[in-house]
Structure formats: structure tokens, C-alpha cells
């Protein structure tokens, strides 16, 4: 019935292979882009077909076994896909946003030397991401999980001639690998624990069915889930593994939009949602997730306050928003987390694409004027709204959405998270405080970004400022679609308290409800409390926006004074809390030193020392004994006679 499911990842894979192998020969950008985007769109159509079929279907969980993968004794593993409401939502997001970003890239990457390579990677990424969300067992998911990591590596390092790009790519992959280490450990422990109970499986459905065999809240389940969570922090850039994401902005902007905002980085959230049954059984892990999520949301927001690079601000904003999602997962608001994942995909993709549009325009202008200014530095922008009206409007809509202003999509999802973090049985009011503070800061720095970029005087170099064009339609169409989605995307999940039906929640219920019921996870509290909290968070957002307006539009000299007043704090925040330096100091440099020591010290000196020492001793003995070889015949004869006498004498006497 859902037998065409495999087509969804298959189309982008084909695209990737075609462009990868023959793109160089094709050369024509329109054809290459057309193949990639078209196949992506086909994939979207198939996804939509399956999605709507699932909407009308009573049976919500469908598995499709494609082939056997590994079969070793009791361990049987298949290539299998799983379609349930959760993965249905994800494939819609991935293929939908993915198609738009493919379209956008045709315009954005126009004129690039290895256009085909970019699209090959991008399609490959879509394939991997779809494998990740559709994977019917943990290992197929892991294929996607590592596959997106690979594509992220390839795309961040797309401009590989830039040292910073390739370094950022390495960092991304390696930090992700640390997370993968956790994922693998979790997988192994889980498999072993279940195998002990007689269930040899990695299949998600079977894991969910036999999860109850493990003791709820026990050490084992906590270890398993914590390991998985480590994996999630790597992929989704949470504390302590978030440092790679800001650096990942070295990649082309569509990549940042697709991979580092809309899809890949949410894989961790998705994974927790996928294994919600296990996580729900481990309250300690849930608490850890909530705390880590809340802290990440807060700290990333503080760093975002002081950055000047437009994409870095967005990157920290992404980290912060991902923190929100983890907060949601941690307090048991699984569907709210996925909801935010979706709305975030819309508005953050729109924001990244919008910033890309601005960068593209500025780059064009600088190129025209033969300047080499940094087109990503917000201090060189300002007043662009008149030059790029479509970009400006969509950008503004998304910014309002992310700030949590009522009736935009971000409001509904964010508010549900905040409410759960306060009222859930696994929540706490301090978590709410963290979330609310982060929301205020988000509103501030996002509007700071808008004001610095689009309002005020044009600070761009005079020679270039008249040459900033509005972007071509391949760029603006995706912007408009995404802006529209950012505006209305929230209406599928309007909470009951505001008169909605929360259809999103209901749709995902088959996936999450069982675990929530079994482990008594629900939000409680009066309507009055809920209204109050909602009002407070809106107020905080508006205060944030107002502050930004005061500082960056009304009194543009204010920020400078502010920085001077709190120089120390600003330096810490501006340098990202010195986390990178800390990691260098604690992990990277010792590793290098140990490596050098093991090589030069242990390997060469000790081990080879012993080996060569043996040789040296033998050689020494030999060179001592060689002087017995005088070379004179009579000496040998003499010794021989002595020997004969001794031997015969020994027998005679």
C-alpha cells in the first residue's frame, strides 16, 4: 500500500549520481539544476501522496522491508523504511523545504565553477536525510545519520580552497563523530540489553514494543538514553558539542539553510522523538535533556547578542532554537518539540535564505565595484529594505515569527514548549525562566539584525551601494513560499486554549501518546496560569523588540556606549564564552601532545628501543667475538686440535 515509499529517498540519490558522474559533461546550469530540483520535487510529490494517504488511514504505522542487509546468526537486519505520523511530518518538511532550497540554489550558485558538484552533494544530502527520517531500524537511521554528517562535511568544505572552510568541515564531522560515538554506544547497549531478554532487534517498532522489558528508570535505560542523547547533542549542536555549527557557516548559504537550520540539525530532536518510548522511561535522562536544552537556548542566545556576522547570528539563533526543541523533548512535550521543529524549519530557512539573498546582492555590488569588503558583516549593511523589498518583507515576517509574536507560526510552537516546561510533570519553573529569557534575547538580537541590515542609513561603501539589486526569481520564489509558511504554518497546531483543535498534536498522538500515558507525562495547570504565562512571554518578546529598536534605530550610538560600559562581559560573549579555546586546551592539544608522545616517546624510544636494543646487544657480542677469527690457519688448526683432545679426553678419562 505504501510500497512506493522507497522512491522518496531514491529520487534524490539518482539525482546525486547523475550530477556527480555526468555533471561535468553536462555543464549547462539549467539542466543540472533542473535535474536536481526536479527529482527533489518528484520526491516531494511522492512524500505528499504518502502523507495524505496516511492522514486518511486508520492504521498509522507502516513498515516497508526492501532487502536484507546483514544477517549473522540471531542478528537479522533489513533495509527497511518506516512511515508513521512522525516520519510523515519529517519527510514533508525535508522534501518541501529541500525542494525550495534546491530551487533557490540555482539562482544563488549561478556561475559557480563546480555547480554540478554542489547539486550532487545537495541531492545526496536529501537522500541521507530522508533515509534518516524514514529508517525503520536504528541502523538504517544511522546510515542517514552519518550520511547527513558526510554531506554536511562536503558542503561546509565546499569552498575547499579556503582553509577556514575545510577546517570547519573537519570540525563539524569530528564533533559529530563524538556524538556518533554516543549513538553507537547507546545502540550497542540497547541491543545487548534487549538481546538478554531474548529480543534480538534494532527495529524501532519492535524496540517500542519490547521497551517495557527494561526496567523503567533503571540504570540501563538511563545509560542507553544518555548515550543516544550524546549522539543528539552532536548532531543538533547542543551543549557541549555545539561549537561546530557557527563555524559551519563557511558553507554556501543554501547549505546553511537546508542543513544547518531546517533539517540535519533537527535530526537529534527527531531521534529522541523516534525513541520517545525509551526516553520517557528514563526521567533522569529527560531532566538532563531539558536542562541541556534550556541552557543551550540561553547561552546561544547570549552569544547571538554580540555577533556582527549576519550568518553567525542566525547560526547561534539556530542553536538556541534547537535548545528549545530539546527543552520540549526533555519535559515530555514531544509533539510540541516536533511542531517547533517544523515551524523553525520554515522561518529559519526563510531567514537564512533571506540573508543569503542580501549577501548575494552585496557580493554582486562589491564585485561590480571591485571591492573586497565582507558581504556578511552587518556593519556594512543598513537601509537595504528599499533595494530588496521582497527579501525584506519575507525576512521581517520570519523574524516576527521567531520572536514569538502572536498569530505568527513561531508563537504557537514556542508557547506550547514554554507552557509544557512550566506545567509538565517533568518540567520546572526554572526551565520556564530559562526559556522565557532566551525568548526575550531572541527577539532582541533578531530585530537587531533586521534593524542593522534593512533599516537606517546605508553603511555600504559608497562605490557599491547603488549596485545592490533585488535577487532573481529563483531566489525570491522560495523566499515568498517560506515566508508565507512562516506566517501561517502555526495554524495547524493552535492550542485548545486559544480555540484551536491542535490538529498537529492529534496527528502525532499515535507516536507519542502511549509513552506519555505509560510514564504519566502531561502538562497540568489552570487556564489562568496558561494565559498568564502566554502574556508574559509575549511581553518579554515585545520588550526585546523595543530595546532593539531603541538601540539600533532611535539611538544608534547607544550600543557603543553599552559595550564600553560592560567591556568584559561583551568580550566574553563576543568570543563565544571562549568555548572553542577551552576545547582546544582540554581536548585537542592534549590529544596532539599524547599522539606525539606516543609516537616519538613510546613507539620510537621504548618499543623500537627494546627491539633495536636486542639487535644492539647481539651486535655487540658479535663484534666482540669476531676478534677470535684471526684469519691464521694455524690458529684454527690449534683450536681444532685442542678441541679434539678435549673431546676424546673427555670420553677416555
Amino acid at each position: 500500500m505504501y510500497s512506493n515509499l522507497w522512491l522518496i529517498p531514491f529520487f534524490p540519490l539518482i539525482g546525486s549520481i547523475i550530477n556527480g558522474l555526468f555533471g561535468k559533461k553536462i555543464k549547462n546550469e539549467a539542466v543540472i539544476g533542473g535535474i536536481a530540483t526536479g527529482l527533489m520535487f518528484l520526491s516531494f510529490l511522492v512524500a505528499a501522496q504518502n502523507f495524505f494517504k496516511l492522514l486518511g488511514d486508520k492504521e498509522k504505522v507502516h513498515e516497508l522491508v526492501i532487502a536484507s542487509w546483514m544477517s549473522v546468526g540471531n542478528f537479522q537486519l533489513n533495509w527497511e523504511l518506516l512511515l508513521d505520523p512522525l516520519s510523515a511530518v519529517m519527510i514533508m518538511v525535508v522534501t518541501g523545504v529541500g525542494t525550495l532550497i534546491h530551487l533557490y540554489s540555482i539562482g544563488y550558485m549561478h556561475g559557480d565553477e563546480s555547480f554540478y558538484r554542489f547539486f550532487s552533494y545537495l541531492n545526496l544530502f536529501a537522500f541521507a536525510m530522508l533515509m534518516l527520517v524514514l529508517g525503520g531500524n536504528a541502523l538504517v537511521m544511522f546510515i542517514g545519520w552519518e550520511g547527513v554528517g558526510l554531506c554536511s562535511y562536503l558542503l561546509i568544505g565546499y569552498y575547499y580552497e579556503k582553509k577556514s572552510a575545510s577546517t570547519a568541515a573537519n570540525k563539524a564531522f569530528i564533533v559529530n563523530r563524538v556524538g556518533d560515538f554516543g549513538f553507537l554506544c547507546g545502540l550497542f547497549v540497547l541491543f545487548w540489553a534487549l538481546a538478554e531478554k531474548g529480543v534480538w532487534t534494532l527495529n524501532f517498532v519492535e524496540i517500542a514494543e519490547s521497551g517495557h522489558l527494561l526496567e523503567s528508570g533503571g540504570l540501563l535505560i538511563t545509560v542507553v538514553t544518555l548515550c543516544f542523547f550524546l549522539g543528539a547533542t552532536g548532531k543538533s549542536a547542543q551543549i557541549p558539542l555545539f561549537t561546530w555549527l557557527p563555524d559551519a557557516m563557511e558553507g554556501p548559504t543554501p547549505v546553511s539553510a537546508l542543513i544547518h537550520a531546517a533539517t540535519m540539525v533537527t535530526a537529534g530532536v527527531y531521534m529522541i522523538g523516534r525513541m520517545n518510548g525509551l526516553f520517557a522511561m528514563a526521567p533522569a535522562t529527560m531532566m538532563t535533556i531539558a536542562i541541556v536544552g534550556g541552557l543551550t537556548a540561553f547561552f546561544a542566545a547570549t552569544i547571538g547578542l554580540a555577533q556582527n556576522d549576519i550568518k553567525r547570528v542566525l547560526a547561534y539563533s539556530t542553536v538556541s532554537q534547537l535548545g528549545y526543541m530539546f527543552l520540549a523533548m526533555g519535559v515530555g512535550a514531544f509533539s510540541a518539540g516536533i511542531f517547533h521543529l517544523m515551524t523553525h524549519a520554515f522561518f529559519k530557512a526563510c531567514l537564512f535564505l533571506g540573508s543569503g539573498s542580501v549577501i548575494h546582492g552585496l557580493h554582486h555590488a562589491y564585485h561590480h565595484a571591485h571591492l573586497h569588503d565582507d558581504p556578511q558583516d552587518m556593519r556594512n549593511m543598513g537601509g537595504i529594505r528599499k533595494k530588496m523589498p521582497i527579501t525584506f518583507i519575507t525576512f521581517l515576517v520570519s523574524t516576527i515569527a521567531i520572536s514569538g509574536i502572536p498569530f505568527f507560526s513561531g508563537f504557537f510552537s514556542k508557547d506550547e514548549i514554554l507552557w509544557w516546561s512550566f506545567g509538565s510533570t517533568r518540567g520546572h519553573c526554572l526551565l520556564w525562566v530559562l526559556g522565557a529569557a532566551a525568548a526575550g534575547m531572541t527577539a532582541f538580537y533578531m530585530f537587531r539584525l533586521v534593524f542593522m541590515t534593512f533599516f537606517g542609513e546605508q553603511k555600504t561603501d559608497a562605490r557599491a551601494k547603488d549596485h545592490i539589486p533585488e535577487s532573481p526569481f529563483t531566489i525570491t520564489i522560495p523566499l515568498m513560499v517560506l515566508g508565507f509558511l512562516a506566517l501561517i504554518g502555526g495554524y495547524i497546531g493552535v492550542p485548545k486554549i486559544l480555540g484551536g483543535a491542535n490538529r498537529f498534536h492529534a496527528f502525532l498522538a499515535p507516536v507519542f501518546e502511549h509513552a506519555q500515558h505509560a510514564n504519566e507525562i502531561h502538562a497540568h495547570g489552570s487556564h489562568a496560569t496558561e494565559y498568564t504565562l502566554m502574556a508574559i512571554s509575549v511581553a518579554i518578546a515585545i520588550i526585546g523588540i523595543f530595546t532593539a529598536w531603541v538601540m539600533y534605530v532611535k539611538n544608534p550610538e547607544l550600543p557603543g556606549k553599552f559595550v564600553a560600559r560592560f567591556a568584559g562581559a561583551h568580550r566574553v560573549i563576543f568570543n563565544k564564552w571562549y568555548i572553542d579555546e577551552l576545547y582546544d586546551f582540554v581536548f585537542v592539544n592534549p590529544c596532539k601532545k599524547i599522539g606525539t608522545f606516543l609516537w616519538r616517546g613510546v613507539d620510537v624510544k621504548i618499543v623500537d628501543g627494546v627491539v633495536n636494543g636486542c639487535a644492539w646487544v647481539v651486535k655487540g657480542i658479535g663484534s666482540g667475538l669476531r676478534y677470535t677469527q684471526s684469519g691464521y690457519l694455524y690458529n684454527y688448526a690449534m683450536i681444532m686440535v685442542v678441541g679434539v683432545v678435549l673431546i676424546v679426553g673427555f670420553f677416555v678419562f
Binding site: 669476531r626 676478534y627 677469527q629 684471526s630 684469519g631 691464521y632 690457519l633 694455524y634 688448526a637 690449534m638 686440535v641
Partner: protein, 100 residues
């Protein structure tokens, strides 16, 4: 009455003289001759004992010793010629290239 012991003692004396010659002489050809003396002393022992025990095997052995001696004479003397050609000497003091 001459017993087998007489022969054995005589061969021992000859062997000792041969040994002495091998160890003391410098001239390679003389050393070679001394070796022949030693070989012959052994031959004498073989034949004496062969008679003593009443068995032909010892005499056959002598035959083979002679064969070997002949081969040795041929090869050994050829070596000396070759050596003399290189060193203009057959003095064993000059035979010292095979050292350390």
C-alpha cells in the same frame, strides 16, 4: 711378539708428529704433507685393527681414505697454485684474509 698395540702405538707417534708438523710449519705444502702423514697413521690403525678383529671393513675404509686423500691432494694443490699466483707466496702467515 708384535701385538696390535705396537701398531697402534706407532700410529699414535706418527699422528703426533704429523700434528706437530701441521701446527709448526709455515709452508702450506709442508703442512699438506704433514696431513698426509697423519692420514697414513690412521690408515695403519685401520689395517692393524682390521687384522685384529678379522674383518675387511677397515681395509675398505683405508681405500676410501686414500680416495679422499687423492682428491684432497688435487684440490688442495690447485688451491695453492691459485693462491701463489695472487700472493707470490704459500706462507700461511699470508693466509689471513678470512678474518673479522
Amino acid at each position: 711378539m708384535i701385538t696390535v698395540n705396537h701398531y697402534l702405538l706407532l700410529s699414535a707417534i706418527l699422528f703426533a708428529i704429523g700434528t706437530f708438523g701441521v701446527l709448526t710449519r709455515k709452508n702450506a705444502i709442508v703442512i699438506f704433507m704433514c696431513i698426509e702423514v697423519m692420514l697414513n697413521s690412521v690408515n695403519l690403525t685401520f689395517i692393524a685393527l682390521s687384522r685384529h678383529v678379522g674383518n675387511m671393513d677397515g681395509q675398505i675404509f683405508v681405500f676410501f681414505v686414500m680416495t679422499v686423500a687423492a682428491a684432497e691432494a688435487a684440490v688442495g694443490l690447485a688451491l695453492m697454485i691459485a693462491f701463489f699466483r695472487n700472493k707470490e707466496s704459500i706462507d700461511t702467515d699470508d693466509f689471513n684474509m678470512l678474518k673479522w
